[in-house]
């Protein structure tokens, strides 16, 4: 612990020394009598002050939580000697705040442990390392202060607040596994498709007896099979734009992607993630239960990282972009590399949906005529880019924090079917 005298000690000693000097020079006994209480206070306080070793253990009730959750924190402080006053404060990392008391003052008896409870509020998603506990021990009379920071390493995963999605998107091309989407092809299923003539191998239970009685030969009902789909979430992590008091483009992207991922995983779809930015990360499509956690881990790790290493989507493993997958891209459409990658995906024949996480009104014009002009040009360029995507059959919708993602997705729920043969 680092010890230092308080201003009180310096001021009191100066006060006493001055009085004693005046008493010596003047020979007045009363001046000494005035100095005596303060001198006694300093002497006794210093005599009672002892060196102590303070320890603190911190434990959290959880190791993962949702954004906006309150996390109970228990701090156990103990000392080998009497410490009349100890201030205990938790060093709160960025993205957290303390609900209720943040600085505690306790008295520590030798060998006694004091348990303190604090509550942290997880304000931002991500993987956070909690910093430590700051201790400030006051000696008797607050003449000496000892300060120490006890580090502890505790990694806490804060998952983003998910966007609740009810309807979501209808993938235009179902895959081979059974799921909840009615395929356009005929097969075994529940949804009625048509009636055709009986062929060898057809099941008797599918015979449509009404039609058979009216026509010459036997007829059977055919059905549409229920299939699942592949959904790939594309996150543009080249930059985090907007923000301020509202969520930035990256934060919106992560929230939205998490919501869409959970929605499709519940529907037995296979979901994958591509985090495309300074660092290229991906997670191949899968539908297992443990895949939810892997997917959330990738989303938690999505952050803006600068890198000179240029990696295009052509480096992605083939399994990451399965043919016929629906690609849902979250992008502010600012970085040319991300825009180029999206154009590449469209050119390869993937069903692509772009959710613009930087609506035009999120960025205000700089003051002055030139700023206004630049802002108008920028908006025109963005409109042109969106029109270019729209002309190629790629819907682009803007999404801000005020809107529900589900209502934004409802605009493009029924996507046009793209040409087959999308290749990774």
């Amino acid at each position: 612990m680092q010890s230092s005298p308080t201003r009180k000690l310096i001021g009191s000693v100066g006060f006493v020394a001055g009085l004693l000097l005046v008493a010596l020079l003047s020979g007045r006994l009363e001046v000494i009598a005035v100095a005596v209480p303060t001198l006694l206070g300093i002497s006794l306080a210093l005599a009672m002050s002892t060196s102590s070793e303070i320890t603190a253990d911190v434990s959290l009730g959880v190791d993962r939580c949702l954004e906006g959750d309150e996390i109970p924190l228990v701090i156990v402080v103990s000392s080998n000697a009497l410490v009349p006053e100890v201030d205990v404060a938790v060093i709160v990392p960025r993205g957290f705040s303390v609900v209720g008391p943040a600085i505690f003052r306790v008295r520590l008896e030798p060998g006694e442990s004091v348990e303190l409870s604090a509550v942290l509020l997880a304000e931002r998603w991500g993987v956070h390392d909690l910093g430590g506990v700051a201790l400030r021990a006051w000696s008797v009379g607050r003449l000496i202060v000892r300060e120490q920071v006890l580090p502890f390493i505790y990694r806490l995963k804060v998952f983003p607040r998910f966007e609740r999605i009810v309807a979501g998107l209808l993938p235009p091309e179902p895959q081979v596994f059974s799921g909840e989407y009615v395929s356009r092809s005929a097969g075994s299923g529940i949804e009625f498709a048509s009636v055709r003539q009986f062929r060898p191998g057809d099941e008797i239970r599918n015979v449509n007896w009404k039609v058979t009685s009216r026509r010459a030969g036997m007829h059977v009902n055919t059905f549409h099979p229920e299939r699942n789909s592949d959904v790939v979430l594309f996150l543009d992590t080249f930059g985090d734009h907007g923000g301020g008091e509202d969520a930035g483009s990256l934060e919106l992207a992560v929230r939205g992607a998490a919501g869409i991922a959970l929605h499709h995983l519940k529907r037995r779809d296979r979901v994958g993630v591509i985090s495309f930015g300074g660092v290229l990360r991906w997670l191949p499509v899968s539908m297992s239960r443990s895949h939810v956690y892997r997917l959330l881990d990738v989303l938690l790790d999505a952050q803006v990282k600068f890198s000179y290493a240029w990696k295009g989507i052509q480096l992605l493993p083939a399994k990451t972009l399965p043919p016929g997958a629906l690609v849902v891209a979250f992008s502010p459409l600012v970085d040319k590399r991300a825009v180029g990658a999206l154009q590449d995906l469209q050119a390869r024949g993937f069903s692509l949906v772009i959710i613009d996480t930087l609506p035009a009104d999120a960025i205000s014009a700089s003051p002055g005529d030139e700023g206004e002009l630049a802002h108008r040009v920028w908006k025109l360029q963005r409109d042109a880019l969106r029109s270019e995507f729209a002309s190629k059959g790629v819907p682009v919708v803007g999404w801000s924090e005020e809107d529900f993602l589900d209502s934004v997705l409802a605009v493009m729920r029924h996507l046009p079917k793209v040409s087959r043969g999308a290749r990774a």
Partner: protein
Amino acid sequence: MRRWLRVIPSWQRSIATFGIAAGMAGYALGLGASTSIVVFLVLGFIMLAGSLVGLPLQGLGVSCLVGGYVVALFGSGPILDPGAPLIGVGAYLLLELVYEERIRPDWVSPKARRSRAWSPSALAAAGFALSSVVLVLGSTVSFSGPLSVAAGGVVMALLLGAVLWATRSLLAPDQAPRDDR
């Protein structure tokens, strides 16, 4: 049960500070009123007010108030003033009050609160008693001449030296410095 308490709220601290300061000023003015005394007292009040709003004038403010008393004492003649222990206790309590901590805790345990509340009171009572004893004993023994002044100087230097030595020993690092050779 968790209680949201502070040792002494700020407004009560201000009232207590100015109450004690007003008592000391009144006593000094009772001994004798002169321009220099009034100047000392006014300066003391201004500095105490400044210290309450965050200026580092705590010790100077208390010193000015006591300075006013000392000047009044010199003007009152050679008669021994029996109120000196009271002024001493007042000065000690003022020092306790004005050196307010900059960062206040959000929660104070009842034990720490009781400890903090009792220790200055006990020390003030002990200080008053010792100050009175010093005054009574000092009045019975007559010291005069340069030798007694020198002896008094040595005693006082020893007292201050003891305080400084205790402070230094408390500020010594907990661990021995690492030998990097």
